[in-house]
Symmetry: C2
Subunit: 273 residues, 2 copies
C-alpha cells in the first residue's frame, strides 16, 4: 500500500478534499467523494471491475488505518492513501469529520440510457426517476434498487446527481454498483423503454392499478416522480400507472419508500426475489 503522511492541511496533494461541503455545492466535474467504510468498499469493487468508476486517492484518519486495512488492500498500489491526524484532517475538509474515511473517485465514462438498455437481459426490472432533486431520495432509490435486484436505474435530466456526497452515502454505495444513465428528457427516457420492449409503470397516488395487482411481464420499468409534483399528467396517460394502497384519506409515503415498496412488489411478481 502506498501510504503517505500529510503533516499540513495546505498540502496540495489532497486539494480535492479541501472544504468538501462548499465543493459539494459547485460540482466536481465527474469527480465524487466517497465517505465511510461501506462506500469505500463499494468503490474498491467498482474500481476493480474497471467500468465507469475509478478511485483516484484516499484520505484517512491515521488511527483508522489499521481498522480498514482489508478494504485498502483491495485498491491497486497506484491509488495513494494519504493519512493525517484529526486536526490536519479537519483543517482540510473544513469541519469535524467523525468517520475519518474519504476517497476521491471519478466517473470516467458517461453511459447513455440506450446503451444500458441494449445490454439488459430478457427478464429485467428498471427503476426510473423523473425530476427527483432531493439527494436523500436519489440515494435511497439506488439503495432500494440494489436490494431488489434492479438491472439499471435511469434518471432524466432533471434529476440531481447521484454521485453527490450525501446521495452516495445514503445509497450505501449502490450508486457505484447498479448501472445507471442520467440525462435526456422524460419523453426520451420513456421512448427508449418502449423501444426495448418494457412494460412501463408510473408510480402515483392516482395510479389506476393497485401495485399488488400489477401483472408481471418479463421486462418492466417503474417510474417515480418528485415528491412535490409527482409524474406529469401527460405522461400518466401514455403509460400504465400503479398506486400503493394507504389508510383512508392519506397520501403520505415518501417517494423513495414508495419506490422501495413498488420495486419489492414487482420484483416479487417477476420472480426476481
Amino acid at each position: 500500500m502506498n501510504v503517505i503522511r500529510i503533516e499540513n492541511a495546505d498540502d496540495a496533494r489532497i486539494d480535492e478534499f479541501r472544504s468538501i461541503r462548499e465543493r459539494d455545492l459547485v460540482g466536481r466535474h465527474g469527480r465524487f467523494i466517497a465517505e465511510g467504510t461501506v462506500v469505500l468498499r463499494m468503490l474498491a469493487v467498482a474500481h476493480k471491475r474497471g467500468g465507469e468508476f475509478l478511485a483516484e486517492k484516499i484520505l484517512i484518519l491515521e488511527n483508522r488505518l489499521a481498522g480498514v486495512a482489508d478494504i485498502l488492500a483491495d485498491f491497486p498500489a497506484e491509488v495513494p492513501i494519504y493519512v493525517a491526524d484529526s486536526a490536519v484532517l479537519d483543517g482540510i475538509v473544513g469541519f469535524h469529520l467523525h468517520r475519518g474515511i474519504l476517497a476521491v473517485g471519478k466517473r470516467v465514462r458517461d453511459v447513455q440510457a440506450s446503451e444500458l438498455l441494449a445490454l439488459l437481459p430478457d427478464r429485467a426490472l428498471v427503476a426510473a426517476a423523473i425530476g427527483i432533486s432531493n439527494h436523500d431520495n436519489i440515494g435511497s432509490i439506488f439503495r432500494n434498487a440494489a436490494a431488489f435486484g434492479v438491472s439499471a436505474v435511469l434518471l432524466d435530466e432533471s434529476c440531481c446527481d447521484p454521485l453527490y456526497r450525501k446521495s452516495l452515502r445514503v445509497s450505501v454505495g449502490a450508486v457505484l454498483q447498479v448501472p445507471y444513465a442520467r440525462g435526456g428528457t422524460t419523453l426520451e427516457l420513456v421512448s427508449g423503454l418502449f423501444e426495448n420492449g418494457f412494460s412501463v409503470w408510473g408510480l402515483s397516488p392516482a395510479g389506476r392499478t393497485e401495485i399488488r395487482k400489477v401483472q408481471p411481464q418479463p421486462r418492466m420499468a417503474l417510474l417515480t416522480g418528485s415528491e412535490g409534483n409527482g409524474l406529469p399528467s401527460a405522461l400518466m396517460e401514455k403509460i400504465e400507472t400503479a398506486s400503493i394502497a394507504q389508510a383512508p384519506g392519506l397520501d403520505s409515503l415518501n417517494a423513495a419508500t414508495a419506490t422501495g415498496i413498488a420495486l419489492y412488489q414487482i420484483a416479487s411478481a417477476q420472480g426476481g426475489i
Copy 2:
C-alpha cells in the same frame, strides 16, 4: 387571529425559537418545534383534538402570512402568531430559514404503553421500534405507520425522541397524529404486547418467515431494530420473525424503508388497506 409583529431578534416573547439548532441538542423539556406548513397543519389538528399536544406560539415570516392564513385560522385565538421580516427571523433562529414557518408545541401528557394498548380495537396493527436512535428513521417510521393505518407506535427507552425537530419534519407531522408511547425496556414493551393478545413479529434479515408468507392475525405488532445492530438475538428467540426477500448476497434495506414494506404487507394481509 392574534398577530404580533416582532421588530427585534432579542424580543423575549419569542425566546423558545432562539438558536433552535443548539436547542435541538440540549432538549426542550416536553416542548418541540414544528416546522413548515405540513407539520403546522398537523399541529392545528392535534391542538383541536385536545389530547397530548398543545400549540403554544407561532412564528412566521411576514410575507408567508397570507399564504398560510387558512392553517392559522385553525388555531384558537389564544395562540399568539408572531411575524417578523427575514433578517429578524434569521437573527432569532440562528440561520437562514427558507420556509419561514415555525411553531412551538408541547406534549402535555406522556402516555404509557399499557394505557395505549388497552384502548386499541380488536383488529389492530402496532409498529414498535427498539433502539432506533436515528432521527430520520424514527420520523420515517411514523410516516409509514400513518400511511398504513397503524393504530399505535411503541418506542422503547433506547429510541430517540420523535418530537425532535428533524424527526417531526421527516414524519410530515405523523408524530402528532399516530398515538405513541415511549419508554420502558424492550422486555416490558414485548410483554405488554403479549398480554394484550398481539402476535409479535420481529423484522430482521435473519427472520424465519418471508414477510409475504406471514399469516394475518387480528392483533399484530411489528418490531424494528436499529440499522446497525438489529433486534437483540435473545428477543428474536421469543417472538416470530420475518424477513424481506432481497437480491442474492444483499442485506441493504434502510430500517425505515424495511418497516414501510413490512407494514404494507401486514396491513394488506389483515385487510386494513
